[in-house]
Symmetry: C2
Subunit: 686 residues, 2 copies
């Protein structure tokens, strides 16, 4: 009957079941009145049950989604992705909850009690001799007091927005970083960085300005009933610039579409999520001083730019550092004998990145992304074979559940969110703006990049990238984070519609678009382009190879090559069991340190490999078969092969470049998630 005792964390508290704690606290009243106590306890229990039911709703939704996805995959239906499906089911349940449940207004009446100064965080209220403890939830603007009374069931299925940022996004983002296809990612790194940083900034700025025009127009027509500042428009630009082409990428993966296009799209979407998060916090941090609080202020602007750079580099550092620490720990202990311990450690360290970044005031989600990349690049090589599959599978499941949960929640939110403001002018304006923003970002940037690229980004690729600018989980999470004001509510509703539209219409049109644009599908990522780019042939070191080297040199920028040789010669040997021995790469006066840091396995691996060549291949094949569609190779031993003949002659620049070729060819043996494929150990033909 009575209003449940918790307000803001309704569903959540189920996850953590605060109810019992409450019950315990209520019991503390002692035996003064057993009947009354019992009544309160029953109330708490009732509320606890309702929480369970709401969470069950979501679980059943997800279960239904999984079963339907299976059916779709089984029948090879490609026009609707699982996320789109999750949204549809969410929508249906949302409609049922909205129109099928009676609207109950809360029992709690505002209770006025004048008091000076700032509010206390805890209130002890004396009710007929008994003390009750109250906690401050936050301020409510006077006009919204009656919003407190709302539909009970609808509030039950409403999550605290921060859950998205702190529970659901981290596994999604970490998985993206951890499963990055390194080879093609690094080959296109320059372009990806340009799209992600410059592109997102351009897109944000253009959308923000266009939307400001729309808002001005709305004010003229009289369609705007509350304030809508320029900073709000920019924030909208940042929110909506986070692309999430999950549908397109899934189809690419299934059809084996062009790998470079895949790398460009995936890399851009992963990094631009990070950029969009930091960009939106910088815009929120833009607080001009003085009277005119929403006009341009140079000082505040540069402070925002500083905030952007600070948060981004700080989060990057945090992620990289915890990744490096994990790599060192897994390298210097023999933890790989106990895969369970290793997996648990890996999980804890990756989680601690998030907390560390949050504790230092950086952005946890961004830190987690770079932690994932570092873990995949270094730690992964040190893990035991079992832990490799365990960690990948663990994060794969978490990612899958979190992603589908967010999308079904999105469907639900369209009907259960209570403060929607749908403004047709704003929505149409937003659709036009994101189209123009995407165009102004892809085509000019591609033109500029093509000036420097040998392997040009073709027109069809550009059109495909333009088309694939889907919005998804990140835009939603950013938009729902703050829905307190009129402008933010309008932005949230619009974002929701944009996500629906792009996931359903654009996502469904991917396959026709691919064939219309004549983009090759069904290509083996390793045969392609050029055909010589194959880890097997790289090792032959003949004329073809030097031609390839030239090409790669041109493609990869000077800075990147510098980083690569540093990484290959120093970081990899220090952090992993692979790479050339440090004794050969470090100057001779560092001999002692080099010997301490070099893993004995670097030498061991070579001999072992020479002895068990055929064995190794067999094992490899078996593993590939066993793990279905994830190729796992004993890759901890793929690096040291450079040092077979003469350990000391390798410390030349050309050797590290050779290794660059080889690694670019070999890197994605380590982290690949495509079809079954037999991997030849590199040493075999040497």
């Amino acid at each position: 009957m009575a209003e449940p005792l918790r307000r803001r964390l309704p569903l959540l508290s189920l996850l953590l079941l605060a109810a019992g704690g409450l019950r315990a606290a209520e019991r503390s009243g002692g035996s003064s009145s057993a009947m009354e106590e019992l009544a309160t306890e029953k109330e708490a229990e009732e509320s606890h049950r309702q929480d369970s039911v709401s969470l069950l709703t979501f679980i059943l939704l997800l279960t239904l989604t999984i079963l339907t996805i299976w059916l779709f995959k089984h029948r090879r239906v490609r026009f609707l992705h699982e996320t789109g499906l999750a949204m549809i089911y969410g929508l249906i349940v949302g409609v049922i909850l909205r129109y099928g449940t009676p609207s109950t207004s809360g029992h709690d009446k505002p209770f006025s009690c004048s008091q000076e100064d700032r509010p206390f965080t805890t209130l002890l209220v004396n009710v007929s001799g008994k003390f009750f403890e109250y906690t401050l939830k936050g301020e409510i603007s006077p006009g919204k007091i009656h919003n407190v009374e709302q539909n009970d069931m609808l509030r039950k299925v409403t999550f605290d927005p921060e859950v998205f940022f702190n529970i659901l996004l981290p596994p999604i983002i970490f998985h993206a970083g951890y499963s990055l296809k390194k080879r093609h990612f690094f080959r296109n790194l320059g372009s990806i960085l340009a799209y992600a940083f410059l592109g997102t900034a351009v897109s944000c700025f253009i959308i923000g300005n266009l939307m400001y025009g729309v808002v001005k127009l709305m004010k003229l027509v009289g369609q705007l009933s509350d304030k809508f500042y320029y900073t709000d428009c920019l924030l909208f630009g940042a929110i909506i610039s986070a692309t999430d082409p999950v549908t397109v990428l899934a189809i690419f993966n299934e059809l084996h579409a062009d790998v470079d296009l895949y790398a460009l799209l995936f890399g851009e979407s992963v990094l631009n999520d990070a950029v969009a998060i930091v960009l939106s916090s910088s815009i929120v941090a833009y607080q001009p001083t003085g009277e005119n609080t929403h006009a341009f202020d140079a000082a505040a602007f540069f402070k925002s730019v500083g905030v952007f750079l600070g948060i981004f580099s700080g989060s990057f550092m945090m992620g990289a550092v915890t990744g490096v620490v994990t790599a060192l720990v897994t390298k210097f202990t023999k933890l790989h004998c106990f895969p369970l311990l290793e997996t648990a450690l890996f999980f804890l360290m990756s989680w601690s990145t998030f907390l560390l970044a949050e504790a230092c005031g950086f952005t946890g989600v961004v830190a987690v992304l770079f932690c994932g990349i570092t873990q995949a690049h270094y730690t992964y090589n040190n893990l035991s074979v079992e832990s490799r599959s365990r960690t990948k599978q663990l994060f794969e499941v978490l990612h899958f559940l979190a992603e589908n949960f967010i999308f079904s929640y999105m469907g639900l939110a369209l009907f259960t969110f209570q403060k929607h403001i749908f403004s047709p002018v704003f929505i149409i304006g937003a659709f036009v703006a994101i189209f123009l923003g995407r165009a102004a970002h892809i085509y000019p940037l591609s033109f500029l990049l093509n000036l420097g690229r040998r392997h040009k980004i073709s027109w069809s690729f550009q059109h495909m990238m333009m088309f694939s600018g889907l919005r998804g989980a990140m835009a939603f999470a950013l938009a729902i984070r703050d829905t307190a004001t009129y402008s933010h509510q309008m932005m949230f509703s619009t974002t929701l519609l944009i996500v629906f539209f792009t996931v359903w219409i654009v996502g469904g049109g991917t396959t026709p678009m691919l064939s219309w644009l004549n983009i090759r599908v069904g290509v083996d990522p390793d045969q392609d382009p050029p055909p010589t780019n194959d880890s097997f042939q790289v090792l032959q070191g003949d004329g073809q190879d030097s031609a390839r080297r030239n090409r790669t040199k041109q493609e990869s920028a000077w800075l990147f090559r510098l980083w690569y040789s540093f990484d290959h010669n120093y970081l990899k040997p220090i952090l992993t069991h692979s790479g050339p021995p440090l004794t050969t790469t470090l100057p001779s006066w560092c001999g002692l340190i080099a010997r301490c840091l070099t893993s004995p396995q670097v030498y061991d691996n070579q001999e072992q490999l020479r002895e068990e060549d055929s064995d190794f291949i067999l094992n490899d094949g078996d593993l590939t078969v066993t793990y279905g569609d994830t190729t796992i190779t004993a890759n901890g031993s793929s690096g040291p092969h450079t040092a077979t003949t003469n350990l000391d002659s390798r410390r030349t620049k050309s050797s590290s470049e050779e290794a660059l070729e080889r690694d670019l060819g070999a890197a994605d043996h380590e982290v690949t998630s495509r079809g079954t494929r037999l991997v030849f150990p590199l040493e075999y033909n040497a």
Copy 2:
């Protein structure tokens, strides 16, 4: 500076980061006073950071524990188990937090505001024109108002007690059910049930009565400063009767100690957790009517017994039903082609058991236990090979993290819990009582059981069981659930000490005790006793076999055999891809239904197996090698072998009994977690 805004969910809220939601709510005040708004936001951010730091503390503790465990395992140190270690680290951090951080008293003053009737759940307080929302946390007894002012940092690391019940225990308990060694468990089912049900009840009653004597004594001596009822004593008996011999079992596993003893101990501890939970809720539900609220009342007593039976059977049903539903879904869809979907579905269904039980007013933890057992018995057979390892590994990691978290929290709680009441008399009394309670439960029950058992429980086994009555996570979670009153606080402090003592002293003494009692170690669970009890030999169906059958007949009770043949003939074929085809076990008039329900694989498996005999063995071996210490066999096909020659002649009672033998022998091929071992497919010698 200021008191953080959330009180009861401090650390938790980090898990879900309520802070942001709060920030959003605060922002809703509009632009009335930007500076003040900024101040509140900074406060929330500060509190969010502190939360991150506290959670980081726990993660670092766990990381440290993992590294030390590795060192211990590496050096084969057995006197200290990982859980004991986690407690030690927790203790150290607790001491540092307690004595190393400055004690800050809260800023919140009790604010009296008289008001009639029952308290509102939400309070809107008007502070100089601005409205603030407060939520009811619960009642506080007048004497404890000043307890609200306490050390900030200590409160930060204090979890809501229900987290243990609703987040940490479920994966632990589910894992216990899912990894039950079915063969030895079922062979000793009668004894295990007797120990778990009768034994726990006896132990609870004896401890309760002894403690009541102790309490009376304390009252005489004047050591008791508040009320301590008989029901409190009984509750203590229920709480402390939950044994958790995790240390002993880990050592047994490592040393390969006698499998029957292992099964008895493990089975008892798994089931008696469930009994203890339900027992304690029944005791809490014991609410005599009338004036004399804490004396004996027959009506209330029988109500409590009814509550016990109701909750137990309800939870059991919930768990079994969701397990069966999952089995059916995995059987009738081809979900096994997509291991990710399958694993996600398995996870969601298992979690939904918990929520379903809680929503219906049953006990989620108990439901989850039986769900785990059902999943292992049926669903596991339908899963793809990859999903089998995925699900096992997923729950293994969750279990490991949750268990070590609880134990390190226990260490921490000894110093950070603010309401400890250590009464020497009560503590000594409790130690004596649990010793006597354990003795009064093991020896008489074993005597009675030995009357019916062919394979007697020897004296040394009884002593070992007596000795292994450790207390652990469950006792702690039950005790911390309600620490509101004086008596409950004293019970909690005593439970904590008992857990410490038993885990460290008793756990450390397991290895000496084993050798002192002359209990065999290093035995292969499948070679042992008697030597003929081997799945390989069972199939030969000669004279030895019939001797064995007699023995098994005597051992397994009539009821159990009835259940077994029902399970083998009907449930297994309906729910899984194994077992004899239903067309042979169901009466002929059910032909159509039988044909629909029987999996085509039942027939397929046979032919496939005959063709690929050698292949199968090879595969098997490979898998065993691949997954390290978990033996995985393609066991979906272990059942149908009974039906090779004449499909219709098998519908006799003796055939189902033969199968019983075979399955008792073969069952733990499916779920075993011990060393690497080559498993021969049963068909091979037929």
